[in-house]
Symmetry: C2
Subunit: 237 residues, 2 copies
């Protein structure tokens, strides 16, 4: 499967740059522009694009809306859906997360279609796309900026489009024996500081709950254990 | 629990406006600014803020970094984490989705802290916050623009911060008897058009798989069923 992005009739170059940057951040390279504004190399589009100014923006292809709908499984994002299930232009819709779940299982060339800053895509355009996507937002103000909406949809599709993320594999969570060793050390520490004997079990449980929620790394556990041991050693001196 | 946002030493007013808009889209109202640029009512901050220009931006409070860390459970977002579990400034980290899961269970005043456009938060600042959050992105280019990063984190926290979204309740999924009725109609339609008898079960299964993936609404099922019936009626004429 491939994922492309089409921006229809954007009015401000800055938004095109913002979308290009989000594409680069989330592993999408193919940008199509329908009736784009002029994208000057010294202007806002390139200024906002970050490293996408080197490839995605200069390689963007100017196409017609028709070419997009004819060649791709098209998904349009719109803030306003229909309450009324009889109005099929904007209903049914999927959320970006539901879209990601679906696309993971589909072998098709997909194009995400984003519309104008002020009015989005027209009802005529929406009627021609295959799926409608809507970002859940505050009922009070659900209308996102064009670039921000595209950023969220691309972010949600990252599992489909990004090979490797920058995140390191977390392999350093402490193992349970190490954590139990910390709790034994803590119990011994309570004794060493003469915490009232009847209160020690409760303090131990409290500490266990704190550590239980923190999912500490091996190093954190070793460090804490060392600190409690150090108290004992100091008191023995 | 309350969620606030602090923007530290932003250099461009436009990013402050973008963040204010995302806050309004996702139900967060309290904006704190540490060393902000000048926010002119006719400038980019107000221009980019959408309806947040009416409340969030004019009500934003200028504070010190110290005031933020002293009064909130602070969560800083940074693109670059440590590979090395011994470097505690940027490790361990949570993803925005993990953060949302955690905050749902916590009763505390949380402040999301976002840093400068070029260098983010300094190591000294990161050392003072309570949690580090990192947006999974392409290893090739994981550095998001400030406004786009804030938009994604606020989007992920929407379950915690947004009361009602704009999305209508989906109550119009077709019920199973209606769907079975469609399949019966389809079988009858295959007969009516003289589809080879031995191929009818396979065609029926294919249609069942298509409809099964589409989760159609009641109206869609009724309409399709009506169309197939119409074919039969036409053929009988």
């Amino acid at each position: 499967m491939t994922v492309s992005v089409a921006v229809v009739d954007a009015q401000t170059p800055g938004n095109v740059g913002t979308i290009a940057r989000a594409m680069k951040n989330f592993g999408v390279t193919d940008l199509k522009l329908v009736d784009p504004p002029e994208l000057d190399r010294d202007g806002e589009a390139y200024g906002y694009a970050g490293q996408a100014r080197e490839d995605i923006l200069p390689n963007a292809e100017v196409v017609s809306f028709r070419e997009v709908v004819e060649n791709y499984h098209t998904v349009a994002t719109t803030a306003i859906t229909n309450q009324d299930a009889t109005k099929h232009v904007r209903y049914p819709f999927v959320t970006p997360r539901e879209l990601a779940d679906e696309l993971r299982e589909i072998d098709s060339d997909v194009c995400l279609v984003f519309g104008r800053e002020d009015v989005g895509l027209t009802n005529e355009e929406l009627a021609e796309v295959d799926q409608i996507c809507t970002i859940p937002a505050s009922a009070e103000y659900p209308v996102l900026n064009l670039g921000q909406a595209a950023t969220i949809v691309l972010y949600e599709l990252r599992d489909v489009t990004v090979g490797d993320t920058q995140l390191p594999e977390i392999t350093d969570r402490a193992d349970q024996p190490a954590i139990e060793g910390l709790h034994e050390q803590f119990a011994s520490f309570l004794t060493a500081i003469d915490h009232p004997e009847e209160k020690r079990p409760k303090a131990g449980r409290l500490f266990r709950r704190v550590i239980g929620r923190a999912h500490p790394t091996g190093r954190e556990v070793r460090t804490l254990r060392g600190l409690f041991r150090r108290v004992e050693q100091k008191l023995e001196d």
